[in-house]
Symmetry: C2
Subunit: 341 residues, 2 copies
Amino acid sequence: MKSHQTTIIDIARELKLSKSTVSRALTGHPNVKQQTRVAILELAEKMEYQRNLMSVSLITNKTKTIGIIVPEFVTSFFSQVVIGAQEEARKSDYNVLISQCDEDYNIEVGNAQLMMRNRVDGIIISLTKETKNFDHIKAFQRRGIPVVFFNRVCDEIMAPKVMVNDYDAAFTAVEHLIKTGKRRIAHLAGPPSLAISRKRQNGYIDALKKHHLPVDEDLIISYDLNLSKVKIYIKHFMDMDNPPDGLFAINDPTAMEALQVIKQLGKRIPEDIGVVGFSNDYASRFVEPSLTTVAVPLAEMGRTAVKLLMDMIDTDPADWKLLIKVLDTELIIRNSTVRDA
Amino acid sequence: MKSHQTTIIDIARELKLSKSTVSRALTGHPNVKQQTRVAILELAEKMEYQRNLMSVSLITNKTKTIGIIVPEFVTSFFSQVVIGAQEEARKSDYNVLISQCDEDYNIEVGNAQLMMRNRVDGIIISLTKETKNFDHIKAFQRRGIPVVFFNRVCDEIMAPKVMVNDYDAAFTAVEHLIKTGKRRIAHLAGPPSLAISRKRQNGYIDALKKHHLPVDEDLIISYDLNLSKVKIYIKHFMDMDNPPDGLFAINDPTAMEALQVIKQLGKRIPEDIGVVGFSNDYASRFVEPSLTTVAVPLAEMGRTAVKLLMDMIDTDPADWKLLIKVLDTELIIRNSTVRDA
DNA sequence: TCAAAATATGGGAACGTTCCCCAAAAATGG
DNA sequence: CCATTTTTGGGGAACGTTCCCATATTTTGA
């Protein structure tokens, strides 16, 4: 039982005016006498009037809301992106409907439909690692609702995308390992379904090639990002007759988990094996040894995605420019590759 | 320029039926012939009909949306709570509007008003560390919109609250330090504006008293949770003529920052000083030494808060029960207090 | 067979706004 | 002072639903 909320009709009745006049005063329309306007504004304040956005959006066909769909909130990665996205949306006076789906494809689809029913003006999205069918995204485009991808993008769909220079960053990271004297560098890769996994892996391979190091398939393992499996893979690597002396991990959580396992096995980092992660997770500077990693401008990624989206909203779909923004990363060298970095 | 979205009128026209019948079929009302219903459902599917929730909520005065207001997303604390809250909301087919305000009071107020304008059916909230005026929360209650507090609650407002046994947990944590032989235990406390800070501090004090240890005011520092200041305080502690041999920190980020500083100062942990945190942050098991901390059931806190909120929605405000749920915590002993724990 | 009951459909008000169009009032100007 | 313009305010449709009431159709049963 909600109690009654003040409407413009309540205000109109009280002041013996029509709802049209009240509406005009409240929306700042010029054609209303100063005196009337003040009276309306004051009464509205007094009655704690809050415009009902449901009816506004019903009539304007705009909700001033954008949706943000991310695959998970467990690591700090996407939360940081959300911070930037929210900040940017606020600037344009937009609100934000956020959903995370625990890397579950079906929940992602459900969330997307929910946002559609809520008539968001646009969405920014980073896909689940298991998303291979994109109908739920295409549905937005068919309705002319703008979509911007970030980080985990989709090649199949024409839409603006914000990502980082995964290939270059991986290349640089692996080259850094090589420069510290490592010759057998393993790669714990992400699922091939994700473009970022493939790009980072290519960067890894090409760095090895540039330095005339063999690319050993046995040293590349693609996994599903389920951290509990890291232990198995690391043990497998270290049990080899000729174990790797370097490790490039798809992301920081993986790398940090690997550090633990390697230490348990009694190996020294970075002497026995140097480790590099990706994303500069909040925790990466706290671990021991502190983790060398690729810093990704997360908040900026969120801001950029929202900016692109804002450009599309209110623009005719025919005029949408399908920009691909590639953000720069920075290799942060810490103790997992260089003792006393 | 959004393209047209299918409405029940489109479907009605196509099938030469009235919108009433279409509405009934779509909402599952029994009084529709099977054959008609099937035709409507099929066409709706084909035309990609998505019910416009704006108009539904306009008429039902329900939005099936709840608001979640948290103070920050930088640490993983609140993200974890949000995961649980979202999961529970989904069960009742509710969506969530999330906002984080970077510990900024003004943004918190703005977000609250935004949610009001969006006519959320209820909110769960954890306050900013600087929130001392609660008008923006009371505004919800005046309108009969249910509010549930979690973690950072407000004593001044009558509302259900979900928290953890901060006092007991702090008591246990400090007692654990004492049992490991520590006698001069410092406390890096949170701002006194937060009830959790006061409760944890009281737990700390009473644990000392129980074991007949002096409560030294110089060993208690309240700070504003701005991590960059931890270094100063820790140095101050360690520079004392009689430095502490134990540290109880208000939360894990503080404790982890402290670990870094202590190590830089060349002190051994836990031999020279044992450290305990609070919240079992995602990173706390990765740090070196791994951090002894109080595990807080974060997702459960979110779930519980939403459950309480759901009980209130659809209940007459007069019948609201002002439950205070206190969740249990668990002390997780790691290497920052016990070598080789 | 025919009334009563059950089932199926349509019509239209309502939700709280915005906005167009029109009318009344006030201001302007010759 | 009156006609014209400008300012100010009102009336009502529209947005996409739901839901009540009324009507049409079918089924039931004695």
